[in-house]
Every structure is written in structure tokens, then in C-alpha cells.
Symmetry: C2
Subunit: 138 residues, 2 copies
């Protein structure tokens, strides 16, 4: 069988705190990233933390998107996991980077699924993308 | 600042299909894994797919747990991401492995957060655990 899918681990730095602390913004970003990544949103749950910070999870037909924010650090931890051939998790990540106005980021892609690990000596295949740095925000 | 947290990527193989296709079982497993991992569940969402397969997401005070199942392959893709010093994502993973009766698994730990990536030349630090194989199920 083919690999199940791709799990993108996205670190976003230098994001404006007011975006990171806006639950509605974060939730809407997941909805739009889902669409941009050619996936289908089946459910969602989110939480506004006190004194700050947001977590939002999107349940996709193709797996999930999560975003956790730390406004005090200008940092958001996201992941986009999609299975199947249609969805494009990289596109969803690109959307999130733009929407969160990240000045720096890193993206790690993990191949998920049985073929990656059918040999017990074979750890999950890991492919680290070159880190593309956006211009620092003014 | 310290790293934000640890993101465990868990592949579970050789799990009984009837467990993997039981939405209530999968949801309950997240609740118990949360407790076992000393974390706090703040919200959840799940979906039973047709003809088979389940996705369940748990929103934690410390980040999230996700489980996606493919009963037809005896496979479940899970991840446990926790921040802070109290929660123990490894313990939550150990619980899931036992609860899903996985005969094989692999676990990859990712360090998340700014300190891991404050240097643009520094990709997220990746630590691959030796793959501990349980005895194959009879």
C-alpha cells in the first residue's frame, strides 16, 4: 500500500500578538487553510486561554489541522496532516504563513503510514525542508 | 525562554480492526491518555467515517492529542503535543500503545518552540527514539 499521508510540522515566528490572541481569527485561518489546501473540514473545536493564547483544531476528512499560539512570544505551533492524493498540506502551510504574517518559520514534513515503517528497522522517513525565511517584519 | 513543548508522533501497527473502527473507544482512549499523561482535556471532536475509520481530536490545556485510524490496515496515526513541565506525552503514548494493542509501533519526538529555532540555520531539533517492538500479536 502507499503511504497514508504527509504530516507537516510548522513553526511560525514573529507573528503579531493581536492575531495570535484572536480565537476567531485562528479558527477562521483553519477554515481557509483547509480550503486552500484542497481539504474538507468536518468539525472544529477551539479555546481561548487566559491571560492569552489560543488553540484551535480542525477535523478534516483527510486528517487534521492544529494551531496553538503564544502571543507573548509571537509564536504559533501548527501542524497539517492530510491523507490521500488530492489535499496539499504544503499549500495549507503556505496559507497559514501568509495569514499569520510570520517573519520566520520552519517546516518539517513527516511521511505517515505503514509503508514508511513496515520494516521495524525503518523509522518514519523524515524530510526536512530548507528553511525559507521571509523578510523580517518592519 | 525554554522550549515550548514536545510533540510525539506515534505510529501504531497491528491494532485490532474492531477497536480502530469504534469511535467511542477512540474518544475514550484520548480521555484516558490525557489523564495518564497528566494533562487536562478542554474539548474534543470526533468523526466516524464510512465505510470505516475514525478521527478523534482532544484539545488539551497543554496542546492536543489526535488519533486517526485505518481499520483496514490495522493502523492508527496518533500525535501527542504537550507544553509545560507537568504533562508527560511519552506516558500518554505508552497508554495508547497498550490500549490499542499495537503489535508494532514507532515514536518520533519533536521539540517545539522558539528556542529550538531561534537560529534560522537551526531546523527543529529532532530526536528519533529507538523503535521498541512489542511481541507480535498471536
Amino acid at each position: 500500500m502507499a503511504n497514508i499521508g504527509t504530516h507537516c510540522i510548522l513553526e511560525m515566528y514573529g507573528c503579531p500578538a493581536e492575531l495570535l490572541n484572536d480565537e476567531q481569527f485562528v479558527t477562521q485561518a483553519i477554515r481557509e487553510a483547509t480550503e486552500y489546501g484542497l481539504a474538507t473540514l468536518m468539525g472544529e473545536v477551539s479555546h481561548q486561554f487566559t491571560p492569552q493564547g489560543v488553540t484551535a483544531l480542525g477535523l478534516l476528512a483527510e486528517s487534521h489541522i492544529s494551531i496553538h499560539t503564544w502571543p507573548e512570544y509571537g509564536y504559533a505551533a501548527a501542524d497539517v496532516f492530510t491523507c490521500g492524493n488530492r489535499a496539499n498540506p504544503q499549500k495549507a502551510c503556505n496559507f497559514l504563513l501568509e495569514r499569520f504574517q510570520a517573519s520566520r518559520h520552519s517546516l518539517t514534513k513527516l511521511v505517515r503510514g505503514p509503508e514508511a515503517c513496515c520494516d521495524p528497522d525503518d523509522a518514519p522517513r523524515l524530510e526536512v525542508e530548507p528553511i525559507a525565511l521571509a523578510e523580517p517584519v518592519a
